[in-house]
């Protein structure tokens, strides 16, 4: 599923070279629910960007579904992101001018899915997160928890091989955050592969497997 081998990434910030990932290796099998935990500045976001094909590593190898992605061009990576990965972000990142259902529909439009099939899949995805009754609302008309559920529906609608969540509860109160985590647990039971990135121990513990990241190095932990 995900195979990171000795992946390194260095950033040049002004005069300083920051080693965001230092020979990081990680293997995630299909249907696994893995959380990556680490403090801010530990390389979490870089790891997420690389796993999510938003950025490429300087050194090392990354196989996604058995295909090495280092050689891909920006356009090919965009296609991989569209087909294989569903993203959920801390700040939801819904397109503010589009309604809930239009946001969910967007990745399908880029895939070239037919209109009738798009409608049906959008309806199903919104029903799955319990928001079918709010489908016409703009993001600004929805609560934080609802916006995150729309974002989850948007991530699910393409039936991705991997759901990648970056601090999905970070902008939510603990009750709403709990509901979102229940939703991830349920998605996992339905057979989805999930990688969840967080700094919160209680959130990380909801996953079956926890990986710790510090100074760009990864270690397996048992909580």
């Amino acid at each position: 599923m995900i195979e990171l081998r000795d992946v390194s990434k260095v950033y040049q910030i002004g005069e300083e070279r920051v080693r965001a990932l230092d020979h990081a290796s990680l293997h995630v099998r299909p249907h696994e629910f893995v959380s990556v935990i680490g403090p801010s500045g530990s390389g979490k976001s870089t790891l997420m960007n690389i796993i999510g094909c938003l950025d490429t590593a300087d050194a090392g190898e990354y196989l996604l579904d058995g295909t090495p992605i280092e050689a891909y061009t920006e356009n090919e990576l965009a296609r991989v992101r569209n087909i294989k990965i569903g993203f959920v972000f801390q700040s939801f990142n819904l397109i503010s001018k589009l309604s809930a259902e239009e946001n969910v529909e967007l990745p399908l439009i880029y895939q070239g899915v037919r209109t009738s099939e798009r409608r049906e899949r959008v309806r199903q995805a919104l029903a799955k997160v319990g928001l079918e009754h709010r489908s016409k609302h703009l993001p600004t008309e929805l609560s934080g928890g609802q916006q995150q559920r729309v974002a989850i529906a948007r991530a699910l609608v393409t039936r991705p091989s991997l759901i990648l969540a970056d601090e999905p509860t970070g902008n939510l109160d603990s009750h709403t955050g709990g509901e979102i985590m229940d939703m991830f647990a349920e998605l996992h039971e339905q057979g989805n592969t999930i990688v969840l990135i967080t700094h919160d121990n209680d959130i990380a513990r909801r996953a079956k497997r926890v990986v710790h990241i510090l100074d760009g190095r990864l270690t397996e932990v048992t909580l």
Binding site: L54, F87, F89, P107, L138, T140
Partner: protein, 245 residues
């Protein structure tokens, strides 16, 4: 109109503030001047839009060299006087390229228009680029993140998601740039562009009425720009209200 007040105001004299006795004879200078000034400013800013967008995108590029080129252009045009830029472009560039002496619409003399439009829009590009850059940066970075995560490339995300949202921040500032250009274009009178300032200078020279023509064009500039900037403000307020909902 033969009241003593009118007589006092219009008494011929070099420094009389309200001496507009030149008007009957020179009115066409000012009418053509307004047209030239408006066309000059609007064209310059419109022509600046495409290079400015390019400069702004280059400025936001990850590539140091591309960023540097755009930064240098902006720095040069913002740090040197407009009159100097105009002189260099007028005597340099348009010494090499000759524009034919053709009059269109009855008032627009091409060889006394195109060099100035080019000079003003090269200058304006630098300022409009900064307007674009600020407008693009004002869009939440999560929008680009979302666009890319949904399967758009960097360029598609910019074109389809970020730029449409940035337009709202950009348009009022762009309109304000036209207002600025209406004033700045007066500098083109130095090289014989027949806009408002040239009309005043020429009239003052020909009639020896040294104040009246300038008072008149000050009033005209004000009558163009003040309502325009008030209108822009109103539109901006309305757009902001639309945001909150």
């Amino acid at each position: 109109m033969s009241t003593p007040l009118y007589a006092a105001l219009s008494r011929p004299g070099p420094a009389s503030f309200f001496n507009f006795t030149f008007l009957p004879k020179y009115a066409t200078y000012f009418v053509n001047g307004v047209l030239n000034t408006l066309l000059l400013s609007i064209f310059s800013v419109l022509l600046a839009v495409i290079p400015a967008l390019l400069l702004a995108l280059m400025r936001l590029s990850k590539n140091r060299l591309i960023r540097g080129i755009s930064g240098a252009y902006i720095a040069v045009f913002r740090s040197t006087p407009m009159l100097v830029q105009l002189s260099i472009i007028y005597f340099g560039l348009f010494n090499a390229i000759k524009i034919p002496n053709i009059v269109i619409f009855g008032f627009l003399r091409l060889n006394q228009f195109i060099p100035f439009v080019v000079a003003l829009s090269l200058n304006s590009s630098a300022y409009v680029a900064e307007i674009f850059r600020a407008g693009i940066l004002a869009v939440d970075s999560g929008q680009m993140e979302a666009a890319r995560s949904l399967g758009l490339s960097q360029w598609q995300g910019m074109r389809l998601i970020v730029l449409p949202q940035a337009i709202k921040n950009i348009l009022p500032a762009l309109a304000n740039e036209v207002v600025t250009m209406v004033k700045e274009s007066s500098i083109c009178s130095s090289y014989g562009c027949m806009e408002l300032m040239w009309a005043a200078k020429t009239t003052a020279g020909a009639t020896m009425i040294s104040l009246g023509p300038y008072v008149l064009i000050a009033a005209i500039y004000f009558a163009i720009n003040y309502p325009a900037s008030k209108a822009i403000e109103a539109v901006e307020r309305r757009m902001r209200r639309g945001d909150k909902q």
